[in-house]
Amino acid sequence: MSNRIALSRRLKGLVLKHVYGMVTCRQFDEFLSRCCERSLAPSERRRLSWHARLCRECRDYLAAYQRAQEVGRAVLAASAADALAPASTLEERIVARIDAQVASDASGAARRATDADSKKPFRPD
């Protein structure tokens, strides 16, 4: 990085840090992360917008960050539509397995009921 650019970055950093109402790029990032929790207060929103007007890096970052979310969502939605279909036998396998389980539960319950009956003390009429 040339000396001139390094100096102007340093100057920008100091201005953003010390001028009232301004936020640094790092604070700008913290505001962005807070957007995940809640909507920002009007004063926070104003500070974000002032910062974005002054800072080329954060302006570019924000545009790319937002576009990445849009692209990610759109591609995931498209890939959900083209997802590989399950094996053709899966439907049958699931039905057979659940059906067998229900049948085994039912026969288990019947067996338990019979066992309980057989353990009842004999009472002659």
Binding site: G13, C25, E57, Q69, V71, L76, E91, I94, Q101
Partner: protein
Amino acid sequence: MTDALAPRQGSERISKEGVVADRKRVLEQLVRDNIRWMHALAQRLLGDRALAEDAVQDAFEAAFRGLAAFQGRSALKTWLHRITVNTALMKLRRLKRLAEQPIDDWLPEFDEVDCRIEAEWPAIASTESVVASEELRIAVAIRIAQLPESYRVVLQLRDMDGYTTLEVAELLGISENNVNVRLYRARAALKTLLEPVLRGSLDS
């Protein structure tokens, strides 16, 4: 749906075989109507077709066990959606893929005076142009898959499947604050991962 499975009081003429056939018919219908989207959902969360099939099988078993208790307070699809997410997450936990992994290399960088380090963006690819190109869609999907599971799952559930922060926190067994932290880091990492696609410099 539950009525078909409930014992039919007062209809003693219906044989046991009839009830069994009825139950099987309901089960077949339930599976047929929902298997494709449930499998697609499990596949997105697990990133693997065979694992997704296992998760769907477990989900249907859990759903069928709980069907009598399903009181219709939510739509059947919403209920099945949650069960599928739960079974897929259980698989991820069992495979220990939900442990938090470092993601720092993909997070924004700042210099010593807290100024952002960000190369210029003369142009950004439009969402439409990316979605229209199969090659770019694949490139994006591969990059999303590079996110560690613990972040990718939060991104998927919150940003795509429409769960609230509280619901994601409950599903993953973590705090709401942790969900928000992971969500922001996942979105920031996604921006870094998608840079070559968005800058149109995929081949370079």
